[in-house]
Structure formats: structure tokens, C-alpha cells
Amino acid sequence: MTAARSKLMLLLPAVAVFVLFLVFPILMVLNESFHTFEPGRIGSVEGGPLTLANYEELFQPVYAQYFAQTYVLAICSSAISIIFAFPIAYCIARTEFAWIQKASISAIVGLMFLSSLVRVYALELTFGSVGVLAPLMSIMDINTNSRLYINFVILAGLLQYSIPMSILILIGAIKNLNPRLTEAALSLGASALAAHITVTIPLSIRGIVSAFLVSMTLGVSAFVIPLILGRGRILFISNLIYSRFSEIANYPSGAAISIVMMVLALLLILVMSRLATSLERA
């Protein structure tokens, strides 16, 4: 069985990198999260007693608020991007002109490949407090320094990611769908709207759930977007973890938040993929 063993050897470099730089570090975070924080010290006390205090702390309303903030905006951006992405993806997937399809896909892929900082900066230039739309906002009597407005700008930042991503995922899903099914519905008397509601959408549900899930994952782990567009007034969980590390060096607390965040992220994936399977069966 040397052949089989030499084949497995090919996996070794990648596995080594994963164990060393991913599994180990996450285990260290997990370990750290059960230790006590001593102010003024970087990292926890080695060999100190184990504690759940770092987790208990998270039940305080202040922390819950960060989680709520993150999840509400992520859910909003995911839902909005599905609503906007689906019709666009449908048009692109079903257009009879190959060049339109190629051009729109190229543009969307271009947006996705664009450095996230460039996109965030572009939004800041456009919607920021001194951005090009600021005069328009003041005419419309919108306070660009209000919390609500900052929330809106962060939402716009999330949508800049999730809409193109959702469009691409949904194009894939719709292309897998037999176009004759929609035609069959039309020839049986359903209006285009009815045909989409009864046939196209139910049959692309897997793609829709998938796009929602990807948008959610991007949204809840967003870091750069709230970091810059939030102007320090609105923080996501990611930013909170970073500030634990950079500002007060409270590693155990940062670790506990990380673990909770990770568990929630994995839970989300689990629930959504279950949901996709059950929706598909129904």
C-alpha cells in the first residue's frame, strides 16, 4: 500500500499548514476564553483557574447589543440582496444575447474582485459625511451624523458585497433550471409573475438559500466595512473582538466573544443547509 501512502503524502503540506495555523490557534483561543483577565497584563495568567466568567459577561445588554447590531444589519443586507439579485440574475441567465450576459457577468465579477478597501473608500467618498452626496443629503434634511444614517451607510457597504455575490450564485441556480418549465407555466395560462412565483422561485430555492447564507456569513463577519464606515460609533462583533485585543489587551474576553461568534456562524450554516434541504423536499 505504498502507492496509497505516497498519495496521502501529497496532502501533508496542506494538512500541516491547517493544523499549525488554524486548528492550533483556534484551540488556543478556546483555551484562553476560559481564563481570567488581569488588567494591565497581556494575555491571561498561565496555569490560573478555569472560569466561565468571560462567557457570562456576554449576557450583559451592552454585549448583546453588538450581536444584535451585527445580526440585524446582516439579515437586512441578505434579504435585500436576494430581492434585488433574483430578478437581475434571472435576466442575465435568460437573456438571448450572449454578449449582454458576458458583459454583465464580467462587470459583476469585476466588482467582486475589486479590493474591499477600494469599495469601502468609494462608499465613504460617496455617502460619507463629507462625501459627494452630502450636499444632497443636507437638502433632503438627512443628518449624515445620525446613528440611523451610519447604519444605512454600513448596510450599503454590506450590499456592495452581497448583491454581486448573490447575483452570481443565483445565475448559477437559474441556469440549472429548465427554461421550458417557465414556458410550460405560461402556456398553461399563468402570467409571468404567477409563473415565477409558482415555478421559478420554488425551484431555485436552494440557490436562494445559498445566496442568503453567503450574504449572512459575509455580513456577520464583516470587519472593514463597519471599521471605516461605522466611524467608530457603530461596531460589529469583529470590531469588538479587535478592540479587546488592541485597546485593552483583554485576550480572554476577546477569545470568548470569538468562540461565541464562531459557534453562531457554524450554527447558521448548519440551520440554513438543513432548511435548504427541507424546503427542496417540500
Binding site: 414556458e183 410550460a184 405560461l186 395560462g189 402570467s191 404567477a194 409558482t198 425551484l203
Partner: protein
């Protein structure tokens, strides 16, 4: 009144003309086959009738009403797709009921109508199944029931049997014909399969390169094809390139093939004196052992000497390939009713066929 009337319908895709000046009319209860190779414009014609493609020129009337500007859902046309396009997330009953829901059938009347349609296609009791739980033949029947459930003015069948295997195809063809006749559906069958076209259609329309090249009853299409194209497409044939010969006997025209074989045809000589194509159907050929019989050489019979190259028994038929002078290959089909004595490769035979069975183009 005609149920369907197409007048000079033309459809272009960019620089490509998919359908050119097609005119058709169809009487109530008739079945018309639209036959042609892929890309001939038959599917585009069907999509124009169904409302999925707008013609660039000409008019489409269904039951006297100009439907050119109507959306698919505004025409009562039943469509059976090649791949059936059954909704995979709906049960058989929901599939059949779909059209009625949107064509305004009172909700209370739907279940009984579904039942009625399913028993018509002999699928009673299958209401709760999903399409994926059905065989190919059953799926086809559900699709037919769905298309017929709204009692469409006209039923369009797109390659209805092509997704089925050969044995099932014959069975379902007969059943399909019966069902269509029993509901009196005015039908257009689009197909590239000549057997399907000839057996299902009361009339057959042959299309090529976007145009109608011949229209007629199935027997007429086969026996007197209007052009070389039609003859080539419908049925098998042996072809000779020939020129007008010198000898002439009253009522016959004589031709000489490029290999110097003389062939007589009963049809009147064509206008041009140049090259013609002669067509002889394999079924019209008799083979005789040349050692046993000297060929009868009546005026209306052709007799050519050849050598048997191959004999293949295909169940009901025997296909014999004969090599004629000049290495020309010739196919003869014999009914396998009894063993043909002494017909083996290498055998010298005479190929006999009547002058009236020679088609000249």
C-alpha cells in the same frame, strides 16, 4: 373555419432566417405533422404559434382571432414539451390542475376534471405521485393530460416521443393517436422522426431551411416526393446520378448512370437535358439469382447485374447490399418471410425494379 391559420410567417434571428414565408392552415380535429431535420424552422414555427417567439412578418390566427400580439397565457394553446417540462415540485394532480387554476376553472370543478384527465391517459390513482416517481412513458402521459386539461383550441406536440426508448415509442405512439382522436384535439406534431410524422399525422408538412417544401398525405409524401430533398429525408433510397439516354420506348424515358448502367423510368422526362438524380426505394427491389433465371426484360422493368456484398437480417427485414458495375452500392430490403435461398456474399444476382418505381429529380 380553420382552427389555425399562418400567413407568410417569417422569423429572423440576427442575419439568420429561421422561418421564411410559412403559411399553414389547419381544420378542426386534424393532426398535422411538421417534419424536418433539426434547424429547419419547425420548432420556431411551433414557438411562434405558442406565443414564445414573435414573428417578424405575417399573421397568426387561432380560431379566427389574430393572436400575433397575444402573450402565451392569452392564447389557449396546449403544449407538450419534448422533455415534458413537468413541474418537479408538484404532484401529478397539481401538474394537471395547474392550467385550470390559471385559466379560471372554478376550484370546485378541478379535482373531478383532474381525475377525468388522468383516467383518459390511463394514470388513474397516480394523483399523489411526483414526476420523479414516474417512468418516462408515464411522465409523457401526465404532460399530455396537463396540456389537454384546459381543452386548448390547438395542441402542439414538440418531438413527443423522442425521449422514449424505441419499444415504448411505438406503444405510446398508438396510444397518443387514440387519445388525440378521442378528445378531437386539433394538433400539430413537430418531429424530425419520419415514422412519427407519417404515423401520427393526417397530413405531413416537410420543412427545410425555414421553408415548407412539401405538404401532403403521408402516402403521398412517401410515394411522390416533390423534390430530391424530400425523397432523401423520407424513407431510404438508392441514388444514381444519370444523364438522358438515347434509346427511347414509348411511355418511358431512358437514363444512363455515371457508371454506364441504363435505367428506365416511367415518369415523363424532365425539362432539362442535363444531369438528373434517380431514386429507387430499397423496398421496391427484387433480387434474383442470375444463375437460375435470365432476367425478364420487359419495357417497364429494369434489370441490373450485381454481386451481393452483405446480407444482414434485421428481424422482420433483410437488408442486402449489392455491388453494381462501377462499384456503386445498392441497398435492397426484403421481407424476412422466408429464407431467401442462396443469398450470400459473393453471389451474382440481378437487381430488378419497375420503371414506375424510379423517381426522377
Amino acid at each position: 373555419m380553420n382552427v389555425l391559420e399562418l400567413k407568410d410567417v417569417t422569423k429572423k434571428y440576427g442575419g439568420f432566417t429561421a422561418v421564411e414565408n410559412v403559411s399553414l392552415e389547419l381544420e378542426p380535429g386534424k393532426v398535422l405533422s411538421l417534419l424536418g431535420p433539426s434547424g429547419c424552422g419547425k420548432t420556431t414555427t411551433l414557438r411562434i404559434i405558442a406565443g414564445f417567439a414573435a414573428p417578424d412578418g405575417g399573421t397568426v390566427q387561432i380560431a379566427g382571432e389574430d393572436v400575433g400580439q397575444l402573450k402565451p397565457y392569452e392564447r389557449n394553446v396546449g403544449l407538450l414539451f419534448q422533455d415534458y417540462a413537468l413541474f418537479p415540485h408538484m404532484t401529478v394532480a397539481q401538474n394537471v390542475a395547474y392550467g385550470m387554476r390559471y385559466r379560471g376553472t372554478p376550484a370546485a370543478a378541478i379535482p373531478s376534471r383532474v381525475k377525468q384527465m388522468l383516467s383518459l391517459v390511463q394514470l388513474a390513482g397516480m394523483e399523489a405521485r411526483y414526476p420523479s416517481q414516474l417512468s418516462g412513458g408515464q411522465q409523457q402521459r401526465v404532460a399530455l393530460a396537463r396540456a389537454l386539461a384546459t381543452d386548448p383550441k390547438i395542441v402542439l406536440l414538440d418531438e413527443p416521443l423522442s425521449a422514449l426508448d424505441a419499444k415504448l415509442r411505438l406503444e405510446l405512439r398508438i396510444e397518443l393517436k387514440e387519445i388525440l382522436r378521442s378528445v378531437g384535439a386539433t394538433t400539430i406534431v413537430v418531429t424530425h422522426d419520419q415514422e412519427e410524422a407519417l404515423s401520427l399525422g393526417d397530413e405531413v408538412v416537410i420543412m427545410h431551411a425555414g421553408k415548407i417544401v412539401q405538404r401532403g398525405a403521408p402516402t403521398q409524401i412517401y410515394q411522390s416526393p416533390a423534390s430530391k430533398l424530400v425523397a432523401e429525408f423520407v424513407g431510404r433510397s438508392n441514388w444514381f446520378q444519370a444523364t438522358r439516354g438515347s434509346s427511347s420506348i414509348a411511355g418511358f424515358t431512358s437514363y444512363v448512370t455515371s457508371d454506364g448502367v441504363e435505367i428506365r423510368a416511367k415518369s415523363p422526362p424532365s425539362d432539362r437535358d442535363g444531369r438528373v438524380n434517380l431514386c429507387v426505394r430499397p423496398e421496391h427491389i427484387e433480387l434474383m439469382d442470375s444463375a437460375v433465371t435470365e432476367a425478364p426484360r420487359d419495357a417497364d422493368h429494369n434489370s441490373i447485374a450485381g454481386v451481393v456484398l452483405d446480407v444482414a437480417s434485421l428481424g422482420p427485414d433483410v437488408h442486402v447490399v449489392v455491388e453494381l458495375p462501377g462499384k456503386a452500392r445498392f441497398l435492397a430490403i426484403r421481407k424476412n418471410v422466408r429464407k431467401i435461398p442462396g443469398l450470400a456474399p459473393g453471389q451474382c444476382v440481378r437487381v430488378l425494379f419497375s420503371a414506375s418505381d424510379v423517381l426522377v429529380f
